[in-house]
């Protein structure tokens, strides 16, 4: 296992499977009478969030606490960061405090990579700009494997704002490493430049790919990152790329509907689809804790010196 988790592109197949298998163990902890393990006693995990994210931060916090690590939440609001402190100064502060792991979310792509060069502890990328969100992809793969028994050989369709989605990028790399075939579906304006370098097929027609999809992963339209008009109206986007009951009916009966959250009901996903038994949205949240426990254990559970 490596020292940092910055990108799913760095994860080989064996590493990825080790995370999923370890998460399988962690998932059993949630069912015990005592939901806490002493494994990371005495280790300090810092949640360093330069962007608001209640669910990811809470998930990491719970994961670290279930492993008995000490957790410090370092959020931008009210800290020196909003007074102009640089990322490097923040890193040095954390270093001086003896952080064993830094969970970093940042609006700039690549910020966790920079951070990794400045701190001695492990850095976990919890979402950087429009680049990557590796633990989300790992929990998605974990959810798929638990529901459908495997990832290899499945057809996974990722739909929506691919351009601004770090979830999409991380999933594309991870799922193809694990042997799934991935299709991205988006309006032409929301398909990133350079997509031809990705191990994916690209389509602009959702209805054409639904009948052959084992998993349909819906992405949120990230208005906060949109600096131009990418589609005419929300209604038109929703009509062409939203998942409603009719489209759900066009999918194979065993196919899953996934969404990384937060959902915009009525926009990319209809409310009755989000609440259907085919939707894994709530499971994804629970699985997120197990997967993050697995990653924290694998990064912090052994000796610091790489043998």
């Amino acid at each position: 296992m490596m020292r940092h988790l910055l990108s799913t592109q760095d994860l080989g197949r064996d590493d990825a499977l080790l995370v999923l298998d370890t998460a399988e163990y962690m998932a059993t902890v949630a069912g015990r009478s005592v939901k806490k393990l002493p494994t990371l006693r005495g280790r300090t995990v810092v949640n360093l969030f330069f962007e608001d994210s209640t669910r990811t931060r809470t998930s990491f916090e719970l994961a670290a606490k279930r492993l008995s690590a000490d957790v410090i939440n370092f959020s931008v609001r009210g800290s020196s960061v909003s007074k102009g402190e640089s990322l490097k100064d923040t890193a040095q502060t954390l270093e001086a405090m003896g952080a064993d792991a830094v969970v970093c979310r940042h609006p700039a792509s690549g910020a966790p990579h920079r951070l990794a060069a400045w701190v001695r502890g492990s850095v976990l990328n919890a979402g950087d700009g429009i680049h990557e969100h590796p633990t989300q992809a790992l929990l998605d793969a974990f959810t798929i494997r638990r529901r459908l028994g495997r990832v290899e050989g499945l057809s996974v369709t990722i739909v929506g704002d691919v351009l601004h989605s770090r979830v999409a990028r991380s999933n594309v790399w991870l799922l193809s490493t694990l042997g799934a075939s991935v299709t991205v579906v988006a309006p032409p304006t929301l398909v990133p430049v350079g997509v031809e370098q990705w191990p994916v097929a690209v389509s602009y027609d959702l209805d054409a790919v639904l009948p052959t999809s084992d998993v349909v992963m819906m992405l949120r339209v990230q208005r906060e990152r949109m600096t131009a008009a990418f589609f005419p109206t929300e209604r038109e986007y929703s009509r062409r790329y939203g998942l409603d009951a009719d489209r759900l009916a066009a999918m194979p009966p065993s196919a899953l509907v996934m969404h990384p959250g937060p959902m915009v009901r009525g926009m990319e996903i209809a409310s009755d689809v989000a609440d259907s038994t085919r939707s894994t949205v709530v499971e994804q949240v629970a699985n997120g804790v197990s997967v993050r426990m697995a990653v924290l254990y694998l990064l912090l559970g052994g000796t610091r010196e790489v043998p």
């Binding site: 296992m1 080790l18 298998d21 370890t22 163990y25 059993t28 015990r32 009478s33 005592v34 393990l37 002493p38 494994t39 254990y297 694998l298 559970g301 052994g302 000796t303 610091r304 790489v306 043998p307």
Partner: protein, 222 residues
Amino acid sequence: MTTPAPGRPTPGRPGPGTPGPGAPGQAGSAPGPRAGAPDSPGTAHTVLSGADIGRVLTRMAHQILEKTAGGNGVVLLGIPTRGVPLARRLADRVRAVEGVELGVGSLDPTMHRDDLQLRAVRPLAVTDLPDGGIDGRTVILVDDVLFSGRTVRAALDALAQFGRPRVVQLAVLVDRGHRELPIRADYVGKNMPTSRQEAVAVRLTETDGRDAVMILSEGAGR
């Protein structure tokens, strides 16, 4: 679990210690040639053959029945990797002797170890408790080799996560001495005094394709 010295570098460990068995000599039915470390470096010395292991396990099954008044409320929990098939074999023998069905499961103590930071990260194994849990039961932990006692200590902590057994006992195929904690086994297949330079290797059909217990002196297959 092949059991080389725990915490490999072993810095500052006191010299020779007191070699010798911790428990009194209830040596197995296979006295075998004394495991006096062969002088030639790099040798593997078989101490128990497959047939010997079979006899030892049969005796242990009888002892379990005797000591637990017929196996009433007993749960055998194997410690991965090789404790798990050993627990199953003991349950099979108990069934053959008295027709009693014991609970069988596995308990992975890894997350409770105190030496995690001394080595590369360890993969986790399955924990699988029999239906009915362990509350109020007699839990017998089963492992292949008892050495420092640290695995057993971790297993005791892991057990507390699942409930409160009435009694916890320990069954091991081999006790090789060198305890670092006040822990002893209730059922011992074979007491096997060793030096720290040696490793005890247990091979089982379920995990390795054959049954044997060997002493590897330095350099042999390590």
